[in-house]
Amino acid sequence: MSSATDLTQDFEELSNLGRAWRRFLRNPAAVIGALIVISVVVAAVLAPLLAPHPGHAGSFVDFRNRHIAPSFAHVMGTDNVGRDIFSRVLFGYRVSLLLVVGVLGVAVPLGVLFGLLAGYFAGVVETAFMGFTNVMLAMPPLVMALAITAVLSPDLVNSMIAITCLWWTWHCRLVYRVTKSVAAEDFVEAARLAGASHFHVLFRELLPNCTAAISVKTTLDAGFVILFGASLSFLGLGVQPPTPDLGTMVASGAQFLPEMWWEAVMPGLAILYAILGFNLLGDGLRDMMDVEI
């Protein structure tokens, strides 16, 4: 196949990519979103280098410097045991992104696979998969997460498992709908008549037609996963101290509201910043790829 593609060079597709890229650049919200996401990723990866007080990420205690308001030395202030909040936010992004990668890395392929199967094979497969998906969708997410983390112990991995169990259903629904409409097109039957296997039809014919919708949804989801993870931590069901997690930081800082406002507000703003970035990027991608979510 690759040899056939090499017959001659054709740069028209390249210019199409170029056109999509230009359309993306013309959308200021999308560009800002992309920049925010990049900054969050850089902050998380390079946290040990960027943080002014890398040691504060752990169980560091400095009671002389507790509850210091944002200043030049501590841009986001310090918390109730004297740790630099800015440094902890940078490390907090690591946990958040780990959560995003862990959850979406499992939930998206799973949901896509189930959605493809349910959308392509009508009948029993469709009824079974979509029935199960709809039952899962009917469960209140927080209650479900509560149940899972209560049975297992509350920590990062278990909250990942809890969120993953809930998340794949949305991708399943989305891919199911796209697959169902694409599968009705003549080229699917033509491929089958040419002798293609179900495997080929599912992954080589149908899946490429779903990628636009999947990538937009995944980007939008990244923000929501961070938010959901933060909610779990806020309730004490997620990451446990002293690991810096944005949700836990908001929860512990909330005790000192309103006087020491920065202790809850700063990590809260950090959550807002990351989610805003992912949402703007997702919206921009949607405009660029022209898909409905």
Partner: protein
């Protein structure tokens, strides 16, 4: 006064702005419509005919559409300098338009009555005339009777999907007539409809023009329709008017090479230009006897059982090796169902199909069978995966083809493209980089890749312009002689079948009502439906008009009354 111009377009230049530059699409259009005249603008897709109409009625895409120069005068008033509200007052009242697509022109959640009442109410409001609901209702009903819809109360209560295509087209015409316009613009009237229904719609338009003192400006790609309905013709190509003149002159002595080419591309129904196809052999290859298909919709526990739909019944046909066998019929007549049963995609409810002496049940179990019969679909947009290049699309069948080993695939791809007369570098193109005709060539190449013996052609040219259609048909004919293929050609286009098929079966409501060699069927049609069907095909010369079977008004009525469409 008759003879005075109602619409005059002079030197109209128009462009579309995109990516910071303006692309000119109309170049100096001059067009004149006189009161009481029936004028047609004809051209293929992309010729600018619809854009011209949009400029007249003032619905150019905003803000992309730009008038670059020229003038449009309606009843002596310059339209291009009118303010938006002045222009809106003309819309629907002095100038009306009948849109092309009778289904998407309606909002599916409103009844026909609501649609018509809205049109009338808003137009009245624009004119500053307050009207009451009952008065409007009376006017709507009168107009519906004018377009020969005889149960206005029932029609008004119906939702668009409850009406047939022909009825929806009539309602659209009624909608345009509500305000007794001076000028009626018709965009591809009847094109989306079956030929018998289209014939009725054209008759209706003709009648309205003469009875209601209307002026008709028609936009179409169908030359035969023009000959029947217009007094004066403008031919457009690539944003320019290449020829204009009285209809008779255009058809009998076209001057512009483009017009000549267009006329030559239209398959003739009768006369010396008709192409005759001969069977390559006389040995029976595909035989179907007493074939029937009934669709039973699955029983739902909340609904009463729906009666089964009989799509095909009692169909018996025999196709020889190397035949071009046509299955003709209007929409819903069961022609595609027969083809799908022969392909082994649908199990018949009863009856027998044999291919090359073996029964279809036997063949379906054999994986090699699938390669003996392939299909080319109607809609090129849907038959190619938008995410796969031409080479990738061809790679699928090549991977399973008997002759192609791995290393040979690039060669085979190149050979296939050459066979369908496409340059080799098209291999790396995506479907959106191809024109409709090129896509159809790729679809043919894909079908040929597994070296089939039978090709099912499901209206392969119906979405293409007539000149492109000719090139595809020529290609298919060349391939048949080259590869000894047998074609099963499904179509509603009888003039095309006349020139392409050597045998033909005419289907009507699930039954084959007439079958024979193409000459037999067209020259001596026996069945009343076949006669009415052939008689309603628009043709491009008087000679052909005279050669058509004569059908009395009563005969035509009887057939139309029994069709699903009305």
């Amino acid at each position: 006064m008759r003879g005075d111009p109602i619409l005059e377009i002079q030197g109209l230049d128009l462009g579309f702005a995109a990516y910071g530059q303006v692309t000119q699409v109309l170049h100096g259009i001059d067009l004149r419509v006189e009161i009481g005249q029936r004028v047609a603008v004809i051209g293929e897709s992309g010729s600018g005919k619809t854009v011209t109409m949009k400029a007249v009625i003032g619905t150019l895409p905003h803000p992309a559409g730009r008038v670059l120069g020229g003038s449009i005068r309606f009843q002596g008033r310059e339209l291009l300098t009118l303010t938006r509200s002045e222009r809106d007052r003309l819309k629907g009242t002095d100038i009306s338009i009948v849109h092309q697509d009778p289904l998407t022109s309606f909002n599916p959640v409103f009844t026909i009555g609501q649609h018509l009442d809205d049109v009338l109410r808003y137009a009245d409001r624009r004119l500053g005339a307050a009207t009451d609901r009952a008065g409007r209702q009376r006017r709507v009903e009168t107009t519906l009777r004018q377009v020969q819809l005889n149960e206005p109360e029932r029609i008004l209560r119906s939702f668009p999907f409850q009406l047939s295509g022909g009825m929806r087209q009539r309602v659209l015409i009624a909608m345009a007539l509500l305000h007794r316009p001076q000028l009626l613009i018709a965009d591809e009237p009847g094109t989306a409809l079956d030929v018998t229904t289209q014939d009725e719609i054209l008759r209706l338009l003709n009648q309205l023009v003469s009875e209601e003192h209307l002026t008709l400006l028609m936009v179409t790609h169908n030359l035969a329709v023009v000959r029947q309905t217009a007094d004066y013709v403008y031919v457009m190509q690539a944003g320019r008017i290449v020829e204009h003149g009285p209809t008779r002159a255009i058809f009998e002595a076209p001057r512009a090479p483009y017009t000549q080419q267009l006329l030559a591309a239209i398959p003739p129904l009768y006369g010396t230009r008709v192409q005759r196809r001969e069977a390559l052999t006389t040995d029976a290859f595909i035989t179907a006897s007493d074939l029937a298909k009934r669709f039973v919709s699955p029983r739902h526990w909340l609904e009463p059982a729906r009666p089964p739909v009989t799509a095909v019944r009692g169909a018996t046909l025999s196709v020889c090796r190397g035949d071009i066998f046509g299955i003709a019929g209007e929409s819903g007549s069961g022609k595609t169902t027969i083809a799908r049963m022969i392909m082994g995609l649908l199990p018949p409810t009863s009856g027998r199909i044999e291919i090359d002496g073996r029964s279809i049940e036997d063949l379906r179990a054999d994986p090699a069978f699938r390669h003996r019969i392939q299909i080319v679909y109607q809609n090129p947009a849907s038959s190619l995966n938008p995410r796969r290049t031409v080479a990738e699309t061809l790679a699928v069948p090549l991977a399973f083809a008997r002759s192609a080993r791995r290393g040979e695939r690039a060669d085979r791809t190149r050979a296939l493209l050459a066979q369908v007369e496409l340059p080799a570098h098209f291999a790396s193109r995506y479907p959106h980089q191809l024109s409709g005709g090129q896509k159809q060539r790729v679809a043919i190449a894909r079908a040929l890749a597994v070296e089939p013996e039978i090709l099912v052609l499901d209206e392969p040219t119906s979405s293409l312009d007539v000149s492109v259609q000719k090139t595809i048909i020529d290609l298919l004919l060349a391939l048949r002689t080259q590869l000894g293929l047998t074609y099963l050609f499904i179509s509603h286009d009888l003039s095309l079948m006349r020139n392409f098929c050597n045998r033909i079966a005419v289907m009507f409501r699930g039954e084959i009502c007439e079958q024979g060699t193409t000459d037999e069927v067209f020259l001596h049609p026996q069945n009343a439906y076949t006669r009415a069907l052939i008689a309603s095909i628009p043709v491009i010369s008087d000679e052909e008009e005279r050669a058509k079977p004569s059908v009395t008004l009563e005969e035509r009525r009887a057939v139309l009354a029994s069709t699903v469409q009305l």
